[in-house]
């Protein structure tokens, strides 16, 4: 540089170089973080996408009038009809073992589906019915290309003979993949092909609702009291230290507390979102209190002076002026707390939300499980087919999280628009 500022140029060059270096390090850090995130989300999405598809098998069922008593349609043995339909399709199968593996191509849900259909339309009795049935998890895995079809027959799920049946079904177009609606509309099941995530989803929604309804108002009130009203004395210092410590207590401890107090002393219903929400509320409270206090402290004192100066009471000052300005910050704290609560598994295990529950909970006092617990349960299952369910449930959990944060951000923007 040739200008009149040259005397600081050497040091200036060093300072600019430092700035450039720092910017690059920042960029690299962000790239690393984002790529980790992409790898994680990408692999989960890749694994979980399979769960969105369900394999169906078409069978021609002869609704033999001799097998279905027209007076008691619901009591007929539909499992037998399905088996007969399979044997009719493959008359060459005669050996007991082969029959068994043939039956294993469709899910045991097929009998229920047929039952429902015939009960709804009794006019079908005596006719032939072409109907699509849910395939068993093994067939489903095979169709999705997750199983070996070559190599040592003894180490495979399907023998060459079975593969032959499946191919013949395929050739006549009797096997198809459909969108797996059931995954989003049913509860858990022992059979992977029937297991759905709705039960856990509703359980999580109820649990978080209870958690939010308890922890947000209590947390905000506690923060407002401590920050705006409490005298600065030794007791309040003690309370403050304890709140900060509580925020660091491992979550499983809160679970044990819930077990000991809410279940054993108060006798609240085990495995219920009510107790789950209460335990998570205990866990979330310190986070919300700390964030809310920080938000209150960030409100300029001049606002308080302005309100008090024209004769507002302390309460009016806080609720008309200070709290509205702190609300966005308080909501941010609540988001962080709720997001943590959403992913929490350990305390829920303690209060029994880990049970195998098929029914969708209808209220906060019915037994339920939660998404993270469902993920834990499925990940623990031996069936190959639960692997993709696990990943799909993780995706549901992440989507839930994103939706929750979206709502919170919208709320926050709504309230911070008061200029």
């Amino acid at each position: 540089m040739t200008n009149s500022f040259t005397d600081i140029t050497p040091s200036l060059r060093r300072r600019h170089a430092r700035e450039t270096r720092f910017k690059w390090m920042g960029k690299i850090a962000i790239i690393i973080a984002v790529s980790f995130l992409l790898v994680m989300v990408g692999s989960i999405a890749w694994l979980g996408s399979g769960a969105l598809k369900q394999t169906r098998v078409q069978l021609n069922v002869h609704l033999d009038a001799a097998q279905i008593d027209a007076a008691a349609v619901a009591d007929a043995n539909y499992g037998k009809l399905i088996k007969t339909a399979l044997l009719d399709r493959f008359p060459e199968v005669t050996k007991r073992r082969d029959k068994k593996s043939l039956y294993g191509l469709v899910s045991y849900d097929a009998a229920y589906a047929l039952h429902d259909r015939v009960v709804a339309e009794p006019g079908l009795i005596g006719q032939d019915l072409r109907m699509w049935f849910v395939a068993s998890d093994d067939l489903d895995m095979l169709i999705k290309g997750n199983l070996e079809t070559t190599g040592d027959e003894n180490r495979r799920r399907f023998s060459d003979k079975q593969l032959g049946w499946i191919n013949s079904l395929k050739e006549e177009g009797a096997i198809k993949s459909v969108f797996n609606v059931a995954f989003f509309t049913t509860g858990d099941s022992r059979e992977p092909e029937l297991a759905g995530v709705l039960g856990a989803f509703v359980g999580t929604a109820f649990t978080l609702l209870v958690c939010f309804c308890l922890s947000f108002p209590i947390g905000i009130m506690a923060a407002i009291y401590l920050e705006e009203f409490a005298k600065k004395n030794r007791w309040n210092d003690l309370i403050e230290v304890n709140i900060n410590n509580l925020a660091a207590v491992p979550s499983i401890v809160f679970g044990l507390l819930g077990l000991a107090v809410f279940l054993n002393v108060f006798g609240l219903p085990r495995s219920s979102p009510l107790v789950g929400g209460m335990v998570l509320a205990l866990m979330t409270l310190p986070t919300i209190i700390i964030a809310a206090r920080a938000a209150l402290r960030a409100v300029p004192p001049s606002i308080r002076e302005a309100a008090l100066g024209i004769g507002a009471t302390q309460i009016q000052t806080v609720f008309h002026h200070v709290a509205p300005l702190a609300l966005p910050g308080m909501l941010t704290g609540a988001i962080v707390g709720m997001a943590r609560a959403l992913g929490e598994t350990a305390p829920l295990l303690m209060i029994g939300m880990v049970a195998f529950i098929v029914d969708i909970p209808g209220s906060v006092v019915q037994p339920a499980t939660a998404l993270p617990v469902q993920i834990f349960l499925w990940a623990d299952s031996p069936e190959r087919a639960f692997l993709e369910k696990t990943s799909a449930a993780i995706i549901v959990l992440i989507v839930f999280l994103i939706l929750m944060n979206l709502v919170a951000i919208l709320l926050r923007n709504k309230y911070s628009q008061r200029f």
């Binding site: 005298k231 600065k232 300029p300 001049s302 606002i303 308080r304 002076e305 302005a306 309100a307 008090l308 100066g309 024209i310 004769g311 507002a312 009471t313 009016q316 008309h320 002026h321 300005l325 008061r418 200029f419």
Partner: protein, 256 residues
């Protein structure tokens, strides 16, 4: 009840401490109704501290302790029976930095009247808001945008909005802490003009670090120095014929 020339604010032996540190020593002075009294003195001499004693804003500061008596309209304001809310409705305050609420201009002025239930109908409230803004010489500038945020106004307008907000609740005394220190000369002139108008109806105490301003707006002047009230009297006397050497040094620019 008070009439012109009566004592509105009366301080007797006021000592103020911040923790162990004494900020004011034995302040005794009487402020007359419907006059402008200015507090002058170098930075850190305790002007703001004394002003905040008069509407008990000091109570917000945990470590602050006030001794002695301060009477407003004859009532000892540090008496247990005194309600701070009533006191602050009687003694309004305008702060050094304009601090409008982050709400609409209308809401800024209406807020005090709303919380004190001073109006019985919406139209009365609107009339009183207009009246207050007119008296604060701000009406013409904001009448078309009453629903806009008060924080969007210029500094001088914001300060006049704060004055409108204060006079809307009809106090008897208005405390002003360097109300023009953050403003440009034109805005300052407007505020000073306003103070002239307001003294018809209010007792005004103004802290200022500008001696010219004190000379222009006030009838009484108190000179503070290092926590002491050095001299208090007619503004003309203080500026033309100061009794104390420190006052003399200050107004001639040798201290401060």
């Amino acid at each position: 009840m008070d009439t012109k020339g009566k004592i509105q604010v009366s301080a007797k032996d006021v000592n103020v401490f911040y923790g162990d540190k004494q900020a004011l020593q034995n302040i005794t002075l009487d402020v007359k109704s419907n006059k402008v009294t200015s507090f002058i003195g170098p930075s850190g001499c305790g002007k703001t501290t004394f002003l905040k004693c008069i509407n008990r804003m000091n109570d917000l500061i945990d470590i602050c302790r006030v001794e002695g008596n301060i009477l407003v309209a004859g009532q000892d304001i540090y008496d247990k029976s005194v309600d701070m809310v009533a006191l602050r409705a009687h003694v309004g305050m305008v702060f050094q930095k304009p601090n409008p609420f982050p709400k609409s201009i209308f809401e800024n002025v209406a807020y005090g009247m709303k919380i004190h239930n001073m109006t019985s109908s919406k139209s009365e409230l609107a009339d009183r808001v207009e009246d207050s803004l007119r008296r604060a010489a701000l009406w013409d500038e904001v009448k078309d945008r009453l629903d806009q945020p008060g924080t969007g106004l210029s500094g001088g307008q914001q300060q006049r909005l704060c004055i409108a907000r204060t006079i809307a609740v009809q106090p008897k005394v208005i405390l002003m802490d360097e109300p023009a220190s953050a403003l440009d000369p034109i805005a300052t002139a407007k505020i000073e003009e306003l103070i002239h108008e307001l003294k018809q109806n209010f007792t005004i105490i103004i802290v200022t670090h500008s001696m010219q301003q004190a000379a222009r707006v006030s009838q009484q002047t108190a000179f503070f120095h290092l926590g002491n009230l050095v001299e208090f009297g007619k503004t003309t006397d203080i500026f033309t014929n100061p009794q104390d050497e420190r006052t003399q040094n200050y107004i001639t620019g040798r201290i401060g």
